[in-house]
């Protein structure tokens, strides 16, 4: 295998990982602050993608599409929090799983109702289309590099938000002791709505950015949601740092596993069976990674108790 191919795959893995981070960061924040497991997070990703595709279709502007994705996902998140989610904070995880599963059914079928079953398409903006030449003679799509950049910027912004701002202090305090910060006069229900909308907006952004590479369709959020769960289980639920490390690990394992495993197995067995066994094992690689992590650290790499 050539080095160039390997570097391309590493970049693809990074791009995938960074997108997973946008999803996982919201999930882990919501869990950390509110103690809520939110299966409908993938639906917010889908809402972002659909809003972006619809607005790009009307206006032709990718920037407006991104704004629409952020706004639509944040609004949907805030609405859902006000109507449903806030009744679930005091419930056990089973109720949370079921209610948010019900929300998935409503969101998915509702979107199908509005937009039909055919996928929509969101074009990469002209300025970002086409490949760029990287040092070493590697041609790589510019848009994917931009995604990596945007994702890393958002990660930085998120760390800054949590470490340096007043909201961040409240979020960290909320994770540590919910009753106490309410007693100190912080409007806890407003904080919860805000955190939920922030998580939703990140998911919507991810949906819109990925929507330009893949097709925008109902159910697009679910595979990503489950991978984001794997990410936060690996990283430790509630930890943003864990979400970042976990996302990159999962993104790289998934991408590189598919490329490296078949030839690696080819050393031991026939080429034809190595390809089929390799692809089957590669499809499970991230779950095997997760099991491995949990065997040694049952609450994830950066999880507390």
């Amino acid at each position: 295998m050539s080095l160039i191919l390997l570097i391309e795959q590493v970049l693809s893995g990074l791009q995938f990982g960074v997108m997973l981070f946008l999803m996982a960061a919201g999930l882990t924040l919501i869990f950390g602050v509110m103690g809520l497991i939110n299966l409908a997070h993938g639906s917010l990703y889908m809402v972002g993608a659909f809003a972006a595709a619809a607005v790009a279709g009307w206006t032709g502007s990718f920037a407006l599409a991104l704004v629409a994705a952020l706004a639509a996902a944040a609004a949907a998140g805030a609405l859902v929090e006000l109507l449903v989610i806030r009744r679930l904070y005091e419930r056990d995880h089973l109720d949370q799983v079921l209610a948010t599963f019900a929300l998935i059914l409503i969101f998915s079928e509702g979107t199908r109702w509005l937009f039909g079953s055919f996928p929509l398409f969101l074009d990469v903006p002209a300025a970002l289309a086409g490949p760029v030449m990287l040092p070493g003679g590697i041609l790589y799509p510019l848009y994917r590099l931009v995604i990596i950049g945007v994702g890393l910027l958002v990660a930085l912004g998120l760390f800054w938000l949590i470490a340096k701002t007043r909201i961040g202090v409240q979020i960290r305090a909320g994770e540590a002791d919910r009753e106490m910060i309410a007693a100190l006069g912080v409007d806890i229900s407003k904080l919860y709505t805000l955190v939920f909308a922030l998580g939703a907006a990140l998911a919507g952004l991810a949906g819109a950015l990925v929507g330009a590479i893949q097709s925008v369709q109902v159910g697009m959020g679910e595979p990503v949601l489950i991978l984001a769960f794997v990410v936060i289980v690996i990283g430790g639920i509630g930890s943003i740092k864990g979400a970042l490390v976990g996302s990159l690990l999962v993104g790289l394992t998934d991408t590189l596993g598919g490329v490296l495993l078949p030839p690696l197995l080819g050393i031991f067995m026939q080429a034809s069976s190595a390809t089929s066994v390799g692809s089957a094992v590669a499809s499970m690689a991230i779950y095997i990674l997760m099991v491995g992590v949990l065997l040694f650290k049952p609450s994830g790499l950066f999880g507390g108790t």
Binding site: F31, I37, V84, R87, H93, L94, D95, V97, L98, A99, F101, A102, L103, I104, L105, I106, S108, E109, G110, R112, W113, E222, I226, F229, V230, I232, V233, I237, S276, S279, A280, A282, S283, M284, Y287, I288, M290, V291, L294, L295, P298, S299, G300
Partner: protein, 327 residues
């Protein structure tokens, strides 16, 4: 007789009465729906052992459902193409015998539950939910990417498997088989809940520390419960595959796990007949709402949301009232 016992008798009668009425009116499709409800109820009874009695929120029971389905699909496809499953080190042939297939399905699902349970039960709470979900997805992607048994397209079995003395292709006779299995398993699950093991399992759900202080190991009790639960759901998977004469990776998908959980919740968690009520209601909704609107799952979602938020205890809990501690 308490209100819940009375309700249970009615619930138990609903499926065979529906099937017999449909048989008298010559409506084979309705019989098939009743069969489907009985099989899905069986899957729910399996999950209910882990979820209701043990408090183990498994979001990966599709893994066992799918394994049961594939046990049937693999054995029957080898029998229908007259190729052995394995030649070395010893010969294994496919089979069309339902009883053998059930045995294989139960053993395969139980072994998988043992492995998945042994790893997952090291964690609790949200981690347990997510890790069981992830194991289910792992098998789902494996089934899709493994080309030998149809991959993404699944496997079709042309003729339903054989059961001694019955014609399984006749809808009412196949219903009798599925309902018979459900009745036996319900009886067993009822006994299990009242047996020392079931009591210990319930106690481990309510207060694991106390169970430990009396000298029992919650981990071991939960693992056994998880294995039994997985085995029952695997049996349901084999029957479901036989009903459709088709298996596909969809049986492994997390929507399947979610749906099995919905049967349990709609009916009432921890109630013996909860899954029966839930599965029957689910099939009824699917075919009444499904006839009105293509987007019936919106209504299913709203109903489920309503049950979770306002009618805890599900259908049985709403009608029969809160569970009584001693009856």
């Amino acid at each position: 007789m308490t209100r819940e016992t009375f309700l249970n008798v009615i619930l138990f009668a609903i499926l065979p009465v529906t099937a017999l009425a449909a048989f008298a009116l010559d409506e084979p499709f309705i019989i098939t729906l009743a069969t489907k409800a009985a099989i899905l109820a069986l899957a729910g009874v399996g999950l209910n052992i882990a979820l209701g009695l043990g408090g183990l929120v498994s979001f990966g029971h599709a893994a066992f459902f799918g394994l049961g389905g594939y046990a049937m699909g693999i054995l029957a496809s080898h029998a229908q193409s007259y190729t052995p499953l394995m030649e070395t080190p010893f010969l294994i042939e496919g089979t069309k015998s339902m009883l053998v297939i059930w045995g294989v399905a139960i053993i395969a699902a139980a072994l998988a539950a043992l492995a998945i349970g042994a790893l997952s039960l090291r964690t609790t709470g949200v981690y347990f939910i997510m890790i069981t979900l992830a194991f289910g997805q792992m098998l789902y992607y494996f089934a899709i990417s493994w080309p030998a048994y149809g991959g993404e397209d699944g496997l079709s079995i042309y003729i339903r498997n054989d059961f001694p003395g019955l014609n399984t292709l006749d809808p009412i006779q196949f219903f009798a088989i599925a309902f018979g299995v459900l009745a036996i398993v319900l009886f067993g699950a009822g006994r299990l809940a009242k047996a020392p093991f079931g009591l210990a399992l319930s106690a481990a759900r309510q207060n694991a520390e106390r169970v430990e202080t009396v000298g029992l190991t919650p981990f071991r009790i939960r693992l056994v419960a998880f294995v039994i639960s997985g085995a029952v759901t695997g049996l349901a998977g084999a029957l479901f595959a036989d009903l459709n004469r088709f298996v596909s990776p969809t049986m492994f998908s997390w929507h399947t796990s979610g749906e099995i959980m919905i049967f349990v919740i709609l009916g009432g968690v921890g109630r013996l007949f909860g899954p029966v009520a839930g599965a029957a209601l689910f099939i009824l909704l699917e075919h009444t709402l499904g006839g009105i609107s293509e987007f019936w799952q919106v209504y299913l979602g709203l109903l489920l949301l309503g049950v979770v938020l306002f009618a805890r205890g599900g259908l049985i809990g709403t009608i029969a009232g809160r569970e009584v501690a001693h009856d």
